[in-house]
């Protein structure tokens, strides 16, 4: 059974997707990620999809779900490393995910998480 590794990087969690995401793997990831966010009191999640070459509406929705779940747990998600072809596909599928933060790579993603944390420590997560 494939599991997607979740690494801790300071106050953030790094999730690198390198395998095909099908139902079971996605469900397990959501379970584990939400648990880790709570147990580690993570302030942010970096979702690295630089190895993902092909996406479908399922993966698109899954990315959206992960971001929403983390936000509810007061952790911001940043999706990094999206390939141009993947970005175009998501837009064509109508899954532009406008509320999700994105960055070009893990470094930029961390910078984004740090700066957004500074501005939102006093803010309550809005629905």
């Amino acid at each position: 059974m494939e599991r997607i590794p979740i690494l801790k990087m300071g106050p953030y969690l790094l999730v690198t997707i390198q395998v095909d995401m099908h139902d079971r793997v996605a469900m397990i990831l959501q379970d584990e990620l939400t648990e880790r966010i709570v147990s580690e009191r993570a302030q942010g999640v970096l979702l690295d999809i630089s190895s993902v070459e092909v996406v479908d509406s399922f993966i698109g929705r899954m990315i959206g779900n992960i971001a929403s779940m983390s936000r509810v747990l007061d952790a911001e998600t940043v999706v990094v490393g999206m390939r141009p072809a993947v970005a175009i596909t998501l837009v064509e599928l109508g899954l532009a995910l406008p509320t999700i933060k994105t960055a070009l790579n893990v470094d930029a993603g961390m910078t984004l998480l740090k700066s957004s944390r500074k501005t939102s420590t006093n803010a309550r997560p809005s629905r």
Binding site: V80, M82, A87, I88, V91, A96, L104
Partner: protein, 285 residues
Amino acid sequence: MGHNTQMADEIRRRQEEILKGWVSYQLAALTLRRDLLKESGLREESRRFLELFAEAFSVTADSSSPSWKPVKDNLAEISKMRAAQGFSPSETAAFVFSLKQPLFNLAQERAGNDGKRLAEILWDLTMLLDKLGLHTTEVYQESREAVIHRQQQELMELSTPVVQLWDEVLALPLIGTLDSERTQVVMENLLQRVVETGARLAIIDITGVPTVDTLVAQHLMKTVAATRLMGADCIISGIRPQIAQTIVHLGVNLSDIVTKATLADAFQVALQRLGATVSKAPQAN
């Protein structure tokens, strides 16, 4: 058909004579285009064609048979060369049609007083040469279409350059209308450059886009959405007053995209976002 083989033999035997007659017919018609074609070149082309023609004719008078392929290939080559040199399709077709006269003369000699036989031979020759002449025109058309198609491709690529204005700032000056095909090219180009340069901002300038209707607006928004997914943000600039009116009248919603009237304003916003400032250098005395 028996008399075809005989005709073919006759053509081969009296090749030089036929060639001479044919070339002089061509030159008489081509007096205006001597600038484009040398007589020696014409003679060689004609000789080659006549050889292939006689060869195929000795097998069958039906030009759709595979025996006629070498002749058709030869004609295709000639047609393409002439098209590249600037001949009109009629001038190129005349190459084939002018062969009728010398061949008809030959047919008349062979048929003698046998009217029926003469009619048969002339009909075969006419059908054949007509089809071959049309073939040159078709090849001509195809090669022109290929040129147009290639130019269209080049035009599409040339008109969507992505330039780097500053560290992490890209500019995309769009010229011409934005249809779905171009949008695809634009998106791919832009996103590729975002990855290459690590840009955080892309300024899409639409000064050169003549009209913005709902479709164009949709394409623009797709491009912005895709760029955002890659971690870069977009600013749209170059919105002319007329365009602004059209956008509002059409009810297009650009509220979540920063829009500016000029590229200069957009660049200023970009610098601000990056936390950069521009200041005057101290004057040296």
